[in-house]
Amino acid sequence: MALHCLAAVARCCRVQPLPLSSAAAGLPAVQAALISGKTMRGGPKSWIKEPWPYKERPYRGLKSFFDTTRSRWDENTRLIVVEGPPAAGKEVVARALAEEFEMQYMPAASGDLVYINDYGYDLRQLNDKLPHKLKLLQIDDFLKNPYDSRMGSFQINWFEFKLSQYIDALAHLMNTGQGVVMNKCVLSDFVYMEAMCNAGFVSRGVRSVYREIAQQCMPFLQRPHLVVYLDIPVAEVQKRIKARARPNEVGSPALTDQFLQSLEATYKESWLKSISEHSEVLTYDVSQETIVEHMVDDIEKLNFEQYGFQTDKMSDWNRKSDDEWDACRTQYTNYKDHLMHNMLVPRFDVPELMAEQEDMKVFYELYHETAPGQKYRFGFNPSMGDSVLFKLGDGGKYRDTTKY
């Protein structure tokens, strides 16, 4: 179904010379080296191969005979996720790690990323004309009124964006060989839904639908190599929120102690426990100070290839042959919509998530027909000045982190 590409035609595996440690563990050919940072190395890293221009050229079919996925991978081709409660300093840490290890940084979900289309038109301008239930919401709306009945669909839309972004991160990693550092990812998004439900912001029906969607989408995603969890107590979180004084966060009815405690509890008891079965988890207490150099030192000591087939650790990354990696890469690069369609769960029992027919018609007309650049795919909108008569192909920019 969604992973039709993994039922690949039988081709013989390409054999590469094995480093000694991998051969001892019986693992396929992967370089056994540790992440190296700029400071320790003393200079910028050298790349094995030119990155595949996956944003312009598709990767599928016979190209896998000419371009192996793992030919671009080196010790820094890792997926790192930085997690933590609000105001923990995730962005600072993630950016610093990305710069140190020369990896790509992927920002957290924000209204700008979600709602500005490929032509630069901000879709939030349509909010005045959209019906109430279908307005385009952002985190600010959650902070202003968390008990709004639209919070359920807002959270699911945010999940959709995060899923899209995670798939893009994996596609980037596989096509270019450059690692990715993410600021919060889709795999931990459920902690927010749990906290919101426990605090009474959304109903249990919404949470049930969300759980079903997450359950459908998760099996197709590679879990990260490393999770860096920034731990601060709830009191410290509240202090920092007051200190940085973002206009919507201070005095918000959403960021109660109970909500933040529930968030922390779910993070630690549920998310970190389950993800530590696969990924390396580094937890840092950053309530006093955040020293990124210590984190870099710890990360540089991690050996991701030491695990064999007896454990689940790194099992998403060490068990595939070359052909399976090529198929995986094809899936994430070109058939992203198949993965996004896993979200289409037939749950019609939660009224907050359903919209009226008349409202949907208004929404469709505004969002998909009349808004500039929305009617057709990028590169094919005559109203935006694209000349279209002789144009074949994908339009030259067939993916970005907000649309699918």
Partner: protein, 134 residues
């Protein structure tokens, strides 16, 4: 009866051999040359299949979220492929019909006693005498 049928099929491939059996009036009538058919009838298959190919490009663009006439090369190419496919389909249909007609004509020739030419009567021989008196 059964023997006749098998005989007919076996002889289907046999074309005109010459001789008296060829000259049945029915066959003579069936073999008169047909008038030139209108263009639409002659080119129905190429036009239809070319039209289907052309229209399929619109469907393709619809599913790909593109304007209907984007990539006109695709419309032309699919229309061309449909046109050629129509020509070959037409040829196949015509050859099937021709084979069937040849089989039937040969059957008529082989069994002329089953296809008697009906006696033509004039109305003068059928109508009874009548005087217009009421």
């Amino acid at each position: 009866m059964a023997q006749r049928v098998t005989c007919c099929h076996a002889a289907a491939a046999v074309m005109f051999q010459g001789g008296e059996e060829d000259d049945h009036p029915y066959v003579r009538v069936l073999e008169t040359p047909a008038p030139e058919r209108p263009l639409l009838a002659r080119y129905l298959q190429p036009i239809s299949w070319g039209g289907i190919g052309f229209a399929s490009a619109f469907v393709f663009n619809l599913f790909a979220r593109k304007p209907p006439l984007a990539g006109i090369q695709r419309h032309i190419a699919l229309g061309g492929i449909g046109w050629v496919a129509g020509l070959y389909i037409n040829k196949w249909i015509e050859s099937n019909s021709a084979e069937r007609d040849a089989v039937l004509k040969h059957y008529i020739q082989l069994h002329p006693e089953d296809f008697p030419v009906p006696e033509r009567k004039k109305y003068s021989e059928i109508l009874q005498p009548w005087s217009p008196l009421r």
